[in-house]
Symmetry: C2
Subunit: 157 residues, 2 copies
């Protein structure tokens, strides 16, 4: 589903390898970058705008964990994984380009793999995330492994 | 380094495959679980203590992204990756067991791989994280890929 389209959550049977979805966007403010870093990733180049000027990045940059969490939130907000039974894990998170204050990201999602489960109420869906900035540059890629409810698993939901 | 030992940051040359370190601990409160979920992972079983009782988890559980971010913070807090030039990515994040309000986690870190870089001031270090709860159960494993400064890269630091 694209931003603005109806947001009916999808069941396992509706995910097809190669299908693509687009998330809404989010602008990383300096305040959000610093607040996140203070809690979860208190490294110099995420926390201290003055000291960051002297690093190889030349300015504050967002924690890669921040970018990953926002990417997940944006896809979640689109309704795409709403019939998630639970996450199994994440593979191949790659931080490709720095995210700086003022950058606006959205996420392009591609269905990378689908596999039935032994349990009739769910199946595995692997989603490839590519987070893209306002210049069209990929800043992060990751493979998210979900257990998604089947039609049987959502009967009555 | 273990909790309580002196926290001199290590340089690339000091990481040896198989070396182990232990992080300080952190107790997941209900408030922290809900606050994190509201921002980054607003799924029913992370947000709504009443509705969570009706899910297969039986109570609120922490977002897997929350567990991952806290694990990174705890290791960071130990000083271990302080000479990080930057993160390259994360592999094989696996959520093994639910984290519930009141659970206290720490992280056992093992050096999984070290590799010199073409650049003399840094090298690649892969750290395997195992987050462990107060019962001694592993709740999360992940491979964190770091670029760590060499002795040459920390001259004068």
């Amino acid at each position: 589903m694209s931003y603005g389209e109806p947001q009916r959550p999808l069941r396992f049977e509706e995910f097809k390898v190669g299908d693509r979805y687009t998330s809404p966007g989010y602008t990383f403010t300096e305040a959000a970058i610093i607040d996140f870093a203070l809690q979860y990733d208190p490294q110099l180049f995420h926390l201290d705008a003055e000291a960051a000027k002297e690093t190889l990045y030349g300015s504050l940059i967002a924690s890669g964990f921040h970018t990953l969490c926002i990417a997940f939130r944006l896809v979640n907000q689109s309704g795409l994984p709403r019939f998630n039974v639970g996450g199994k894990g994440i593979d191949e998170v790659r931080w490709i380009k720095a995210v700086r204050p003022g950058d606006t990201l959205h996420v392009e999602v591609e269905v990378a793999d689908v596999a039935p489960s032994r349990m009739a109420d769910r199946g595995s869906v692997q989603l490839k995330y590519t987070a893209i900035n306002q210049k069209g540059e990929a800043v992060l890629t990751a493979l998210l492994n979900h257990m998604i409810r089947t039609q049987a698993g959502t009967a009555g939901v």
